[in-house]
């Protein structure tokens, strides 16, 4: 499958899971996965999903503006660079964000090994 199509499919799956079923994100990370969320470093799928499910909002919607991807090296990993905005229920203005993922292939599917998220303040 075309890498750009893989990246696009992953991004759609990630954010739709985040927006509709945040605990479901646990299947996208593994024990060695790393998340840096607004500068806070978290390791391992359990800890990462605990962080994401404890964020101070119930409902949210990610609107993706750009997706760039590149192969990360000979091991078959993929780097995905996303920008977009995050609309929280009840908030007037959406928050702009950028995020990067490093996806590693494991028996035909990809999981997130590296994840870095930053809000983009004006």
């Amino acid at each position: 499958m075309d890498p750009d199509a893989v990246a696009k499919a992953f991004v759609e799956h990630y954010y739709s899971t985040f927006d509709a079923n945040r605990p479901g994100l646990v299947s996208l990370y593994q024990e060695g996965s790393m998340l840096t969320f607004e500068g806070q470093k978290i390791q391992g799928s359990q800890n990462i999903v605990a962080k994401l499910t404890s964020l101070p909002f119930q409902q949210c919607k990610h609107n993706i503006t750009t997706v760039d991807c590149q192969p990360s090296g000979p091991a078959g990993g993929m780097l995905v660079f996303v920008s977009g905005n995050l609309q929280l229920a009840g908030e007037q203005h959406a928050l702009k964000f950028s995020q990067m993922f490093h996806l590693i292939s494991n028996q035909g599917t990809y999981y997130v090994f590296n994840d870095i998220f930053r809000l983009n303040y004006a």
């Binding site: 990360s72 091991a75 702009k96």
Partner: protein
């Protein structure tokens, strides 16, 4: 390499990269190699020569990057390739322009010879308001 050393590498790289970009853009060729890949505002550019040409041809002479955030993580498990992912956000002031442009950028650094690192992957996006 210990975790904190990787953060130091990331920090040193970011300072070096933006200093070169703002003061001596043609010298950036030293940090890429023939397998490097740059995505610049969606355009994919492959290899040190093409990347250097792209950066040299950007439609401004003078610029200044102001870095707001730098995050880094090892790109593989211990014993792997030793790569480092660096995620930067900041603003870019172009000479003569009223308002700076906000941007996000990511680098994947791979160890080269004698403790140096080169840029294997790079992606740049302006963040429009």
């Amino acid at each position: 390499m210990a975790e904190t050393n990787k953060e130091e590498v990331a920090s040193a790289f970011v300072n070096h990269y933006y200093h070169l970009f703002d003061n001596d853009r043609s010298s950036l060729s030293s940090i890429y190699n023939p397998t490097s890949l740059l995505s610049f505002e969606g355009q994919k550019i492959y290899g040190v020569e093409n990347i250097s040409n792209k950066l040299k041809q950007l439609p401004f002479d003078q610029c200044h990057h102001l870095i707001s955030t730098v995050d880094s993580q090892p790109s593989s498990m211990a014993g792997g390739c030793g790569g480092i992912l660096v995620f930067v956000s900041g603003s870019l002031q172009l000479h003569g322009e009223d308002h700076p442009l906000r941007f996000s950028q990511m680098f994947h650094l791979i160890p080269g010879l004698q403790g140096s690192f080169f840029v294997q992957n790079e992606m740049f996006r302006l963040n429009y308001g």
